[in-house]
Amino acid sequence: MRIVVAEDDALLREGLVLLLGGEGLDVVAAVGDGATFLDAVTEHRPQVAIVDVRMPPTHTDEGIRAAVAARRDQPDLAVLVLSAHVEQGFATDLLVGSARGLGYLLKERVGRVATFLEALRRVAGGGTAIDPEVVAQLFARRRAADHLAALTHREREVLGLMAEGLGNAAISQRLWITDHAVHKHIRNIFAKLDLPVGADSDRRVAAVLRHLEATSGAT
């Protein structure tokens, strides 16, 4: 897997490169700002870009803008955005088009190497990875909470993992339940929330997130 890393903090950038290299992944470039990142993407044509949100010069949303620009040039480039804290606006900005090949994770998730690599592979494969914190915040909004009251505890867990972008198999593994049980829960959730049932997992994520966004009120 060819990867470009854009992260302005030198220590963290080095850590990422070491970690990914240790897993046998091919980091073709590691850069520290948005402009250099775009050059690197054009030059190396990676499959995945791991991008920090805040980078020089303004330290606001350079990473998001660079990622959006890179996706315009290479629509099938998978982008995993790393952020120091959850900014709801950025997550939904990214999902405006399609959630295909997109990830939004808090930086510290990288330390849980196995889970991080799972998310990275999912994004690289065209899936979605949304940070549990983002999902938790969407769940916590009052209107969303009212809406989700009809769901059982287990169904809410499943919905959360779906929103994070996990597939059925991953969900069954995570919750220690059978594939069949996951299927049953998902059917119930979609019926209760009146969502269209679809087989495609990334469209499913988008539908779930849009539903959560819509029911969570003004951001």
Partner: protein
């Protein structure tokens, strides 16, 4: 004196206190005479300008005339304040351009009140200023008439010049009228001084309404500025924690993850990663300490600015001389910024300059605090991303101060922070 009552002051003491009071009042009246003459001059100038306005030319002079009016009125305010009637200047900034000046003259309450004072002071004030001089000179002249009337026949007069003195009898009368003049001077002068000050005390203070609105506006502005500085300061702390400490800790987490991964595969390869983990944690600690120190250094509270800076210099690896000339304690926030700037500057000196000597100079000049850190090192310091200088600049600008860095390659380096502290 068994009753404990105060001893009655003697007649002489009473007389002396009256003379002192009359002399002081005379002094104020003479100063008032000065402002009254200036007021008279200003009336003439204003009339001329008004006349010139009829042919258009005067419009250009309205601005300068207004400035003259304000100058004279302010002189009188200073006199009144010195007399013990605190009189604050009510003006906003001077308007620019004659259109604005005209609008200002029409709308500004204080200008109209100034004009009222000007007319009163140029006339009544002038006369009141002349009276005590007249009384004094009459008293002296007539008291001394017996001594000299024979030397200047036909010229000696009493009662202020109304009665000619040509006999010894008349000359003796001079003594009587002289004493009357002196008594008049003694008794009336304090009243005259009060009378001369009255128009100014009424008209040169801000109008009651204007006073409140101006006060509210001023308080509003300073409060907004304070809140602003506070918000900027919070933002700075948030940025420091976020971009510094938090990033370090994230890196530590990531490196720890990588180390665990390496442990599982090849324990020997984990060692360098663990070392980096430790480095990262230490960096995070150092940055956290620096953020905490930047909020409010404990040494500052205990020892004040001079003591805290001396302690900083003593800890500095480069020999550092400290020279602090600050007469009083300054606002805590200003002291904190000054301390922080010196601490960061000395850190830079130690880390980058290879200097042999450094000098820290802190001076209060008027309502500004000047903080200078100079070293004889290699120079080349710039305010840019990640350098401690950026932190200083952000902090200083939050308090409306300025940061200058003169650091040519090859040195020496001079860092100057100027902070308003009034």
């Amino acid at each position: 004196m068994s009753t404990g009552a105060l001893p009655r002051p003697g007649l002489l003491a009473i007389l002396r206190s009256w003379v002192v009071a009359a002399a002081v009042a005379t002094q104020w009246l003479v100063l008032g005479l000065g402002t009254a003459l200036l007021a008279l001059l200003t009336v003439v100038v204003l009339l001329l300008v008004a006349a010139l306005c009829l042919i258009g030319l005067g419009l250009l002079l309205v601005g300068p005339a207004l400035r003259l009016l304000r100058w004279v009125a302010d002189l009188e305010r200073r006199r009144l304040t010195a007399m013990g009637h605190a009189t604050v200047s009510p003006y906003g900034p001077l308007p620019r351009g004659w259109g604005q000046v005209l609008r200002d003259v029409r709308s500004e309450v204080s200008t109209r009140r100034d004009l009222g004072w000007l007319l009163l002071h140029a006339t009544v004030g002038l006369l009141l200023g002349l009276l005590p001089l007249e009384m004094l000179s009459n008293a002296l002249q007539e008291l001394s008439t017996p001594l000299w009337w024979q030397l200047a026949p036909g010229q000696a007069t009493v009662l202020g010049g109304f009665v000619a003195v040509d006999t010894w009898g008349a000359a003796r009368w001079g003594v009587v009228t002289g004493i009357v003049w002196a008594l008049l001077w003694l008794l009336l002068t304090p009243q005259l001084a009060r009378g001369q000050a009255a128009p100014g005390r009424r008209l040169l203070v801000p109008h009651p309404d204007q006073d409140l609105t101006a006060l509210v506006a001023r308080l509003g502005a300073t409060r907004a500025a304070a809140l602003d500085a506070h918000a900027v300061e919070l933002r700075r702390i948030e940025r420091a924690l976020h971009d510094g400490t938090q990033n370090r800790l994230v890196a530590v987490t990531v490196l720890a993850g990588a180390a665990r991964q390496a442990l599982a595969r090849d324990p020997a390869s984990a060692e360098p990663l663990l070392e980096r983990v430790q480095d990262g944690a230490e960096l995070a600690l150092a940055e956290l300490r620096s953020v905490v120190r930047s909020i409010l250094p404990p040494a500052l509270e205990a020892d004040g600015l001079p003591g805290a800076l001396a302690a900083l210099a003593a800890q500095c690896a480069v020999p550092t001389r400290v020279d602090v000339t600050v007469p009083t304690r300054l606002p805590v926030s200003i002291e904190a910024v000054a301390y922080y700037a010196v601490a960061e500057a000395l850190t830079n000196v130690t880390r980058h300059s290879t200097a042999r000597d450094a000098i820290v100079t802190v001076q209060q000049r008027g309502d500004h605090l000047w903080v200078e850190v100079a070293d004889d090192g290699v120079g080349g310091a710039t305010v840019g991303q990640g350098s401690g200088l950026t932190g200083i600049r952000d902090r200083v600008e939050a308090h409306d101060g300025t940061l200058e860095v003169h650091s040519p390659a090859g040195g020496p380096t001079l860092l100057r922070v100027v902070l308003p502290c009034g």
